[in-house]
Every structure is written in structure tokens, then in C-alpha cells.
Amino acid sequence: MTNGMANDRARGMGAYVVALQAITTREALKFLNQRSRFLAALVRPLVWLVVFAAGFRAALGLSIIPPYQTYITYEVYIVPGLCGMIQLFNGMQSSLSLVYDREMGSMRLLLTSPLPRWWLLFSKLLASTLVSILQVAVFLVVAFLFGIKMPPLGYGLVLPALVLSGLMLGALGLLISSTISQLENFAGVMNFVIFPMFFLSSALYPLWKMAESSSLLRDICALNPFTHAVELIRFSLYGQFNGMALVWVCGAFAVFFAGALIGYDPARGMIRGKG
């Protein structure tokens, strides 16, 4: 191959798409090969939906709040939060696999590709997001079979919201993975990220309900990007637009992804020296 051809290959836009396809295919195959991961991803929200929500239905009274136009049951309320939970777990699982890839050496293969590092990492995020959307889709089908139905249009409109929330949560995982040097350290970080993000959000309780017990907790929830991801999903499922949630999710994605790029920059990042 001539030098010029190599340059063309490195620069050509087609190469970007090809690399994205390759990374997405690998992530999808890895996910489908790991049946236990698929099962866990499905069972976890279903347990919350069937067991937790059934128990809380009587205890929690919900007033009519946007985007709902009528009284709803608790099961209906937590479905968007559980969609977010699937994406949150998936984002962290992907970052765990990034740490594993780095320890096992596969990450080197990715990072020595001639394509720009930002694109390779973004492709990773997009692939992980698509895997999470697959899980959410299966969950929504099962929820439908349980009688928890959304407006038909909502199933389509929620797609862009899921892409954005998946990218944001994946970028957070990527940022975390750039700061972790060993696989063993990751479990602790998962506990300090997943549980606070999930419980200090509007996934399980509306913010006004949280304010009844503590205004400080409510304020913390309002500052949690996961809250806004859940609200973006919730409003989209009901065919409504939530501008504030969109700005929060996009802003958080930009911050997390920029941090991750610094973390994976060989000149500046924390990855330097970890190989």
C-alpha cells in the first residue's frame, strides 16, 4: 500500500463509519454472548416493577403532575425511572468492561487505531447506548404485557431521549473508567455512583414528594443529572418536550465526555502511566 492510500484511509469519512460499525458489532455480540448479563439487565427492573412497586402502591399517593394528565398508579410512575436505571447500570457495566479491556490489553488495540481517539471513544459510547436501548425495549414490552401501557406515539418519541440519556450515562462511566487503575477498585466506585444517583433522583419518587421530607434532599435530587435523564424519558414517553431536562442531559454529557477525553489523552490524562 502506498503512503497516500494509508493517509486517505486514515482521513476518509467512510473509515469513521466502518470503525463505528466494527465497535458496535463487537459490543452487541459481547452482550448477546453474555446471556446472564442480558437476564440480569431484564430481571433487575422487573423486580422493582413487580415487587417494589406493588408494595409501594398503597403507601405512596401521587398527585397529578406533568406529564401525566390523570391519576396514575405507582407502577406507571416508576417505568421511566426503571428505563433510566437500565441505562445507568449498562453505562457502568460498559465502563467496567473498559477497565477490563485495559487490564487485558484490548484497549490498546482500540487506542492505536489511526482514527481520532475522540471518535473511537464516542463510538464505544454509542455502541453501549444501543445495547442499553435494546434492553429498555425488551423491558417496555414486558411492562406492556403486565398492563403498563404508554401512549403509542411515546414508544417512538422516547428513542431520541434514550439515545441522549444513554450517551450521558455512558460518558459518566467512561470518565470513571479513566480514573480507575485496577478492576478491583471498580466495585466500590459502582456503589458510590449507582446507588446515590438512582436513589437521589426522581426515578422512584417525584421531587415534590422528596421535598416533603427534606428540602435539601430535593435540591440534591434536582442537581442530579440522572433525575433529568429520567424526566427526559418520562416526558418523551408521553409525547411531551422537557427543555430543561434536555439542556441538563446534553450539558452533563458534554462535561463527562470532555473529562473522559482528558482522562484518555496520553499527554494529559490519568491513563498516562497505566498503559
Binding site: 500500500m1 503512503n3 494509508a6 493517509n7 484511509r9 486514515a10 482521513r11 476518509g12 467512510g14 473509515a15 469513521y16 466502518v18 470503525a19 460499525q21 466494527a22 465497535i23 458489532t25 463487537r26 455480540l29 459481547k30 454472548n33 487485558m104 490489553g105 484490548s106 490498546r108 488495540l109 482500540l110 487506542l111 492505536t112 487505531s113 489511526p114 482514527l115 481520532p116 473511537l120 496520553p266 499527554a267 498516562r272 502511566g273 498503559g275
Partner: protein, 252 residues
């Protein structure tokens, strides 16, 4: 003409200097062994050559491209086999190759043809559909070499590729990579095993981050053995005067 040059490169981990003004220049069609004991700085140099690390001290050129200024063009001309295996064990051989081809921007028919040709060259064509987990260590290494050649690089870097392999597998891989060099590829092979090096091969001796010698194995060994020359050079730890580094003087 030089297809690979390292000019006055230094790198430090905090206050510890891992590479100290390293300079190496190599042309096409050569097999060059980077010989050094553990901790000599070989892996650090490989990380810089593959841009996993960057340094502001010195310059690295691959096929005429400065890796700091034109990283994508330089990486496009580089094939790498890392010391640590970088394969997806639960995917088939061809899936692993397709993934790598994708990362290089090769798709569809072109990727399939290149993968098939690379496997054929390594005598692995019949294993294409097997899962990597089913392959032995030698075959996994062969596959990684085949993978590193898919995008037809000008320079092939191998970081201690025979570690953990039995003697026949080591010999087969060493022979094959020498054949690649004979066909015009520049092979840069990091090792601390002198029996992988042939008399006509170029040798760069690296110790404590410094290049102690660069010449053919025959010249370095002189009338003695390469092992003796290597041990004597690295035991002193200091760069000997130029007269010591040439020909018979170095081998005594």
C-alpha cells in the same frame, strides 16, 4: 531510506528516567531486535511508538510521518503485536480480524480478502471460524501477527511476542517474522532472548533507558557469542566508547 526513526527521545515516570536520549534509525526490509533486560525501557519505548504515551522530548517518525504531528498517518503505517494478548477469546478468529480491520477503516470485501490472505500466510486459514479460546498459545500469537498485517503496514512492532510459548512455536513465529522482513517489511522486535536473533539481524541494545549499541548481531558478537556481548554491555550499564561497539571488539 529510513522508514522508522527515533530521534533523541526521552521519557520519565515522575523523577525516574525511563528513556534517556534514545535514537534509532532503521530502513525497510530489516529485522531489528530491540534487546534489553527487564526494566530496560523497551515497553516504554513501544508505548511511545504506538502513541499510548507521548513525550515532548525528541521526535518519532513512522514512514515519514511525525507521530506527534501526524499521529493518524503514522499509526496507519504501523502494525503492532503487544506483549499482552489483545484478543476477544469468545469470538471467532475471523470476527477478531474483522473488528481490527474495522478499526483500521477497512470494510466489507476488502477486509475479508485481507483477513483471508493474512491467515493463509500464517497457515491459519482453516481455523478462521474457530473461537480464539480454542486455539493454543502459538496459534493465538500467529493470529495476532496476521491481524497486525491486515492494513499492510510499513513497520511491524512486536513486543516480546514469544513470551510463554514452547520452543517449536517460538521457532515457527521467529522464522515467519524473519520471512516478513525478507519480503520488505521493517520488523522491530523487542526481546531479551538472544536465540531469536540471527547473525545478519540488526540489534539495538537498550539498558537503563539508554541505547548501548546498534549494529548487526554478527558485528556485536564478534568472535564470541551474542549472549556474552549482551551480558557484558548491560552489566556495565554505561554506554561504552564507540570503538567497543563495533565488530570484533564488542564480541570479545
Amino acid at each position: 531510506m529510513s522508514v522508522f526513526s527515533v530521534e533523541d527521545v526521552s521519557y520519565s515516570y515522575g523523577s525516574r528516567k525511563a528513556l534517556d536520549h534514545v535514537s534509532i534509525e532503521l530502513g525497510a526490509g530489516r529485522f531489528c531486535a530491540l534487546l534489553g533486560p527487564n526494566g530496560a525501557g523497551k515497553s516504554t519505548l513501544f508505548n511511545l511508538l504506538t502513541r499510548l504515551f507521548v513525550t515532548s522530548e525528541g521526535r518519532i517518525r513512522i514512514a515519514g510521518h511525525d507521530i506527534a504531528r501526524e499521529p493518524r498517518q503514522a499509526l496507519a503505517r504501523l502494525g503492532v503485536v503487544f506483549q499482552q494478548p489483545t484478543l476477544d477469546l469468545d469470538m471467532s478468529v475471523e470476527r477478531n480480524l474483522a473488528y481490527f480491520a474495522g478499526l483500521q477503516g477497512l470494510s466489507g470485501k476488502q477486509a475479508r480478502m485481507r483477513s483471508a490472505a493474512a491467515l493463509e500466510r500464517l497457515g491459519m486459514a482453516e481455523r478462521a471460524r474457530e473461537k480464539v479460546r480454542a486455539l493454543n498459545g502459538g496459534h493465538r500469537r500467529r493470529m495476532e501477527i496476521a491481524r497486525a498485517l491486515i492494513h499492510e503496514p510499513a513497520v511491524l512492532l512486536l513486543d516480546e511476542p514469544t513470551v510463554g510459548l514452547d520452543a517449536p512455536s517460538r521457532a515457527a513465529i521467529t522464522d515467519h517474522v524473519h520471512d516478513l522482513a525478507d519480503s520488505g517489511l521493517l520488523v522491530f522486535w523487542a526481546t531479551h532472548l538472544v536465540d531469536e536473533i540471527r547473525e545478519e539481524d540488526e540489534v539495538v541494545v537498550l539498558n537503563k533507558g539508554r541505547v548501548l549499541a546498534q549494529e548487526t548481531a554478527g558485528q556485536l558478537a564478534g568472535s564470541g557469542s551474542l549472549t556474552e556481548a549482551f551480558v557484558r554491555l548491560t552489566a556495565s550499564g554505561e554506554a561504552p566508547p564507540p570503538s567497543v561497539l563495533t565488530g570484533a571488539e564488542a564480541g570479545r
